[in-house]
Amino acid sequence: MENFLSDKPVAIIAYGEVKNQRRSGKRPYEFAAEVMGQILEKTGLKNSDIDGMATHMPTAEAGNTFYTNTMADNLGLQPRWTQLTDIGGCSPVGNIARAAAAIVTGQCEIAICLAADSTGTTGVGHRRLGGYRQEFMEPIGFQGPPVAFGLLSHAYDQKYGLNLEALGQLAVTQRNGALANNNAIEQFRKPITVEDYLASRVIAEPVRLLDCVMRCDGGNGLLITSTERAKEMGLEKLVYPVAYSEITNFEPDDPNPDITETGFATVGPDVFNKAGMSPEDIDMFHPYDDFLIAVMLQMEQIGFCDRGEGAEFILGTDMSPSGKLPVNTGGGQISAGQPGLGGGGVNLTEAIRQLRGEATDRQVEGANNALVTGIGVIPYFRNWGSSNCMILEGA
């Protein structure tokens, strides 16, 4: 497939992020308003300058079948192009590609991509999610993502051997990021050790508490326009999406798939091919992290290391901000919190912050590109639902 982003036709010109909170009592609209407020202040734009709006379906508003209209009305926006994306954790990264396509094809000029949810306040609402969950998951005691990752971890263990020390090392690296990140959920801003990881409560064997994200409330977002317009506006610190790849419902026709394989085996190589790059060219990696093993599987399948060698790669690579491959420098979702289905924006926002040189104590010096990813939906005996990869470049 052709890469419509190769000539950098669009630029991310601003971002906003609210501090993650456990239970705020707020709704996604309030978080979106705070995010838009930050963006307007940074750019000097008015809300009436924004003519495109992309959102994702938040769990807190699942059941509102007019979410786009409600959001626009809350924010005083009059978009000429809208997009509601519901591929879970892939949505915030995926919305950049969708907004870029809308801008390149003249459907809008300045688009805001918003991610906001208050799952900490409302709960997940599995019982409203519908589909096969109510008929085939809840009645067998399938308690949610920890079970899916318990089965996946066990399958990985049988095939390659699961190294808990490596996962613990990853937990510590990400937690150190949260310690330096003022927007991380406050409860997680205390150090942990590999021993703490190993000793944390088992949820669904071998998945421990410190393998998992904690859902919370929060929001983030960004503003995107044509590179030409961004330069006319005299804006600096532009961040360019230069390659994107996405896949949903990986291998639907295999009745007995190897659940350790995912769509990243497709989109990882594809995004590098589109960018004319290889994993060695990546300055920072900001992978979607709902569970620690998901980060390791992405390293293997995107191509940072081979299948089964993720643990060795983690233990042998400095992934701190000053290391060879900085990973989720703001804590990732596991240590900064997962603001519901807006969680995919946590890793993305950190990548943009880094590329703008605004990551304060945890700034990665000299980083000029980042790989960001999303994972959407964990079906209960198949591979991840959606996978996406985007390469971002600094100015």
């Binding site: 599995h126 096969y132 109510q134 008929e135 085939f136 809840e138 009645p139 067998i140 005691g141 399938f142 308690q143 949610g144 920890p146 079970v147 318990g150 089965l151 996946l152 971890s153 066990h154 399958a155 049988q158 409560r201 088992v202 949820i203 669904a204 064997e205 071998p206 998945v207 639907p252 026709d253 009745p255 007995n256 659940i259 209960y380 005996f381």
Partner: protein
Amino acid sequence: MTDEKQNPPPPIPSPTPVSQPMWDAAKEGKLLLQVDPASNKVQFWPRPVNVQTGKSDYEWREVSGKGVLSAWTKVHVPAFGFADRVPYILGSVDLAEGGRIVAQLVNVNDEALVPGMAVKVTWEKRSDEISVYQFEPDC
């Protein structure tokens, strides 16, 4: 006596027009699944199409209910309705005819589980209309 408020019973599946034949067969202790007649590939859960073709040209076939255990997890934090059962084991079963079902494993201790172990379906009656599939060692 179980306190239904503190320990609600496990949820009872609500059949859809597509899945109704499977649940009707389950009442009789039979495992009925959708199969692609051209390739004999089994699909579970029931879908409105044969995923091999995208058309409604699937067949319902009774399968043996026998299979092998591929992966499992011992669940310590229960799903809604399963507080009475913790810890319980959920296993991924590759059926003899192909296809895969995740279900509760019963009549076995997790220490006795091995990958590739033979298992067979058994049924837990949840109501007059619904029996839910479980698996147990086939020995």
